[in-house]
Structure formats: C-alpha cells, structure tokens
C-alpha cells in the first residue's frame, strides 16, 4: 500500500509533464471561433470604396470565399497585404471588412497599397466585427458555398499558412456541391 501511494506523485507528475509538453505547442492567445460550421451572422456593411456600395452577408454565398478583416492602423495587415494581392491574382475571391475606422481612412489605405477585394465594406463602430467574434486584426474567415464559416485564421495569412492550411481547405470547398 505504501509503495502504491509512493508511486502516486511520480505518476501524476508524468501526466502533468505530458500536458505541458503538448500545451507548449499551442498559442494561449488564439481563440477558437464560435462560428465554425455555422452561417455568418447577418450583417450589411457601409460602403468603403468611393462610388461603390458596401456588401451584405447574404452576398457571400455561391462559391468559397475569404472574408478578411483589416484596418489601416494595423501593422501585420500591411505585411499580409502583398499575400492577399497575390491570391487575388491567382483568382481567389476575397471580401474585405474595414474594422473600427472611418471609411475614408480605409479607402485611402487601399488606394495606396493595392486592393485585393472583390467586395469591400466598412465597419466603423466595430459591431459587425464583434458579431463575428473578432478580437483583433487581421483575421480571415473561410466561407463555403453556402456561406458557412469553415475556418478562421487569427493573424496574418503568410504564404506558409496559405499553402499548408487554407489552400487545401479551399480546394476541398470547391469540390463540394
């Protein structure tokens, strides 16, 4: 009995250690999205690009599309931008949500840095972002043909993230009816 009890601490320790080892690989700040598998909450965004209307959530159906949340005041967004432009050139459909700033600032930034978006809208108050569960920028949602969220990328889309995670997913979504 004593021997069994004496083994208990080391046994528990091994379990805890294993937990730490696996836990170390995770990023504690990244939240899982509550929308995975669900349709986008309904929204209608104000216009961002001069002369163009904004867009509504209902318009993001019919084909797999990325919804990219960005802002001109966001540093990593600037680093992500060239990747998005390249994706656009490759035919990927990206919708842009300009988060928590005036439409004028967002439009100016797009004009200066390039515009990868097929649709773009402005969310000055940030409420639509909060409805999407956004806690920072950049974030990108991957939507399927039926407008359901299948994946959320927290942080910038790097070439590695694209090739390893999002591109295969998009291919799969394309194949879906």
């Amino acid at each position: 009995m004593r021997r069994a009890l004496a083994l208990l601490p080391v046994a528990l320790f091994v379990l805890v250690l294993a937990g730490f080892m696996v836990g170390l690989r995770r990023d504690p700040a990244i939240l899982p999205s509550m929308l995975i598998g669900k349709p986008l909450p309904a929204f209608a965004l104000a216009p961002l690009r001069p002369g163009e209307p904004g867009f509504a959530s209902a318009e993001l159906t019919g084909e797999p599309v990325l919804l990219n949340v960005f802002a001109s005041w966001c540093g990593p967004c600037k680093e992500e931008h060239p990747v998005l432009l390249r994706l656009k050139a490759e035919g990927v459909k990206i919708a842009g949500l300009d988060w928590k700033e005036d439409a004028a600032d967002g439009a100016r930034w797009l004009a200066a840095n390039g515009d990868p978006y097929v649709r773009a809208g402005n969310d000055a108050s940030g409420r639509t972002g909060i409805d999407l569960g956004v806690s920072g920028v950049p974030e990108t949602f991957v939507l399927d043909r039926r407008g359901r969220v299948r994946y959320r990328q927290v942080g910038a889309i790097t070439p590695e993230v694209w090739s390893r995670t999002i591109a295969p997913l998009m291919a799969k979504l394309e194949a879906e009816s």
Binding site: L5, A29, L31, P32, M34, A71, W73, C74, G75, P76, K100, G126, R127, I130, D131, L132, G133, S135, G136, V137, P138, G155, A156, T158
Partner: protein
C-alpha cells in the same frame, strides 16, 4: 503571428487604470450600472493579459463594456447579457469557468483533494495505531534482556 497593434494597445491598457469605465459609458440607472459593473468584473478582456473588461482601458474592452450595458438597458437578464458575449467569443470570455463536464475536475478538485487527503491521513493514522510500536527486533529484545539481567547482578 501576433497582432502588434493590439499588443501595443494592451500595453497601454496596462498603464491605464482599473475601473476603466468612463463617465460617458456609465448607465443612468444606478441599479443597472451596478449590475453592469458586477458582470464586467467577471468578463475577460480578450486582448489583454489577465484583466477583466472592468479593469482594462483597451478599445475592445471599451466596446464590450458598451455592448454589455446596451443589453442590460434593453432588458436582458444577467444571464442573457453574458450569453450574448459568450455566443460570439466562447467560454473564454468568462473569468468564472462554467460548470460543465470538462470543468468538473477544476471546480470539484480542491474539495476532492482535501477530502481524499483527509481520508488518506485518517486511514494511515488508524493503520499506525493498530500496529504497536516495536523499535527493537526479537534478537535485540533478547540481547537487551540479557544485558539488563547481567547489570542487576552487579
């Protein structure tokens, strides 16, 4: 990859005061405001490092405080107002973890450790009391008896 902008905001939030609610955020009705304050203290600021939205000056915390107050002013119960945010951000926004199967160990653990430990101690003490103390082995006892007897002879 970190969102540098948000980290900067969070760093500034560290420099800001708790009781981060501003006068213009506060609700008119003191009872509702008190409810909002109490609930805010149990909601996590998602872009900070371990602060509640009541304590943090981060912009997102501000937004969440405002939303919470809107829900309360609109007539939501405490549960409904909080659920509104949980629907968007998940259980992570709750500083008090919900009581559900994957948190049973978390909530019941402390008492369990105390009770199990107490039971262990009780069993151990009873087991010890049942076995009498015998610091000497049989051979030693005999040797001691021989020495004592020899001593008496002097």
């Amino acid at each position: 990859m970190r969102r540098l902008a948000l980290i900067a905001a969070a760093a500034l939030a560290l420099a800001g005061p708790a009781l981060a609610v501003t006068p213009d955020e506060q609700l008119r009705d003191p009872a509702q405001e008190a409810r909002a304050r109490a609930l805010s203290q149990e909601l996590r600021c998602l872009v900070c490092q371990n602060q509640s939205i009541d304590d943090s000056a981060a912009p997102l915390a501000h937004d969440l405080r405002v939303i919470l107050r809107e829900r309360i002013a609109a007539g939501d119960s405490d549960r409904q107002a909080v659920d509104y945010l949980v629907a968007r951000y998940g259980d992570f926004v709750l500083l008090k973890p919900p009581f559900q199967p994957d948190t049973w160990a978390l909530w019941l653990g402390p008492l369990a450790v105390l009770l199990l430990g107490g039971a262990g101690v009780a069993v151990y003490m009873r087991g010890r009391a049942a076995r009498p103390e015998s610091p000497l082995s049989v051979a030693d006892e005999a040797e001691a008896a021989r020495l004592l007897a020899a001593d008496k002879g002097d």
